[in-house]
C-alpha cells in the first residue's frame, strides 16, 4: 500500500477520535484542544495529498488554514478569560 494514502487513513481516524473529544468533552478547554488538534490533522492531510497528487497549487489551502486557524482559538480563549473581546 502507498505510504501517503496509509498516512491519510491514519490521520482521518485520529480526527474521528478528536471528534469524540469535541462531542463528549466535559469542559470548554477539552473541546478547544480537540478543535485545534483537528485543524492540525486536516492541514497535514491536505499537505500529504498535495505531495501525493503532485500538484503544488494545493498547498495554498493548507497555507490559508494554517495562517487563519488560530484566530478562532484565540477569540474563544479570550472570551473564556472573562475579558471584553474588543479591548
Amino acid at each position: 500500500m502507498n505510504p501517503f494514502l496509509a498516512m491519510t487513513y491514519i490521520l482521518s481516524a485520529t480526527s474521528f477520535l478528536c471528534l469524540i473529544r469535541i462531542v463528549r468533552g466535559p469542559t470548554h478547554f477539552d473541546r478547544l484542544i480537540g478543535l485545534n488538534l483537528m485543524v492540525l490533522n486536516i492541514t497535514a492531510i491536505i499537505s500529504i495529498l498535495a505531495v501525493y497528487l503532485n500538484r503544488y497549487v494545493y498547498f495554498d489551502v493548507a497555507l490559508v488554514y494554517a495562517i487563519l486557524g488560530f484566530v478562532s482559538v484565540i477569540a474563544i480563549s479570550k472570551y473564556l478569560t472573562g475579558r471584553e473581546l474588543h479591548k
Binding site: 480526527s15 462531542v23 487563519l68 474563544i76
Partner: protein, 76 residues
C-alpha cells in the same frame, strides 16, 4: 477516507444544533467548517476551499463569539 469525513460532517451538524451552551455550539460549528473545507478540497474545488477556510476560521467563529459575549450564553 472521504466517507469518514462525511460522517464527521453530519455528526457535527447535529451536535451544533443540539448543544444547550452556545459557546460549545460555536466550537462545534468551527469543526464543521473545517471538515467542509476538506470536503471541498477533496472535490478539487480549490477556490471555494480557500474562501471557506478564510470565512469559516477567521470571520464566522469570531463573529459568533462576539455575539455570545454581547448577549446571553445559555439557551433556555
Amino acid at each position: 477516507m472521504i466517507i469518514v469525513f462525511l460522517i464527521i460532517l453530519v455528526i457535527t451538524a447535529l451536535i451544533a444544533i443540539e448543544m444547550k451552551d452556545l459557546l460549545n455550539s460555536a466550537i462545534v460549528l468551527a469543526a464543521f467548517s473545517l471538515v467542509l473545507t476538506f470536503l471541498f478540497f477533496s472535490l478539487h474545488a480549490l477556490d471555494i476551499a480557500i474562501a471557506e477556510a478564510a470565512i469559516g476560521a477567521g470571520v464566522s467563529t469570531v463573529l459568533f463569539v462576539v455575539a455570545i459575549s454581547k448577549t446571553r450564553r445559555h439557551e433556555e
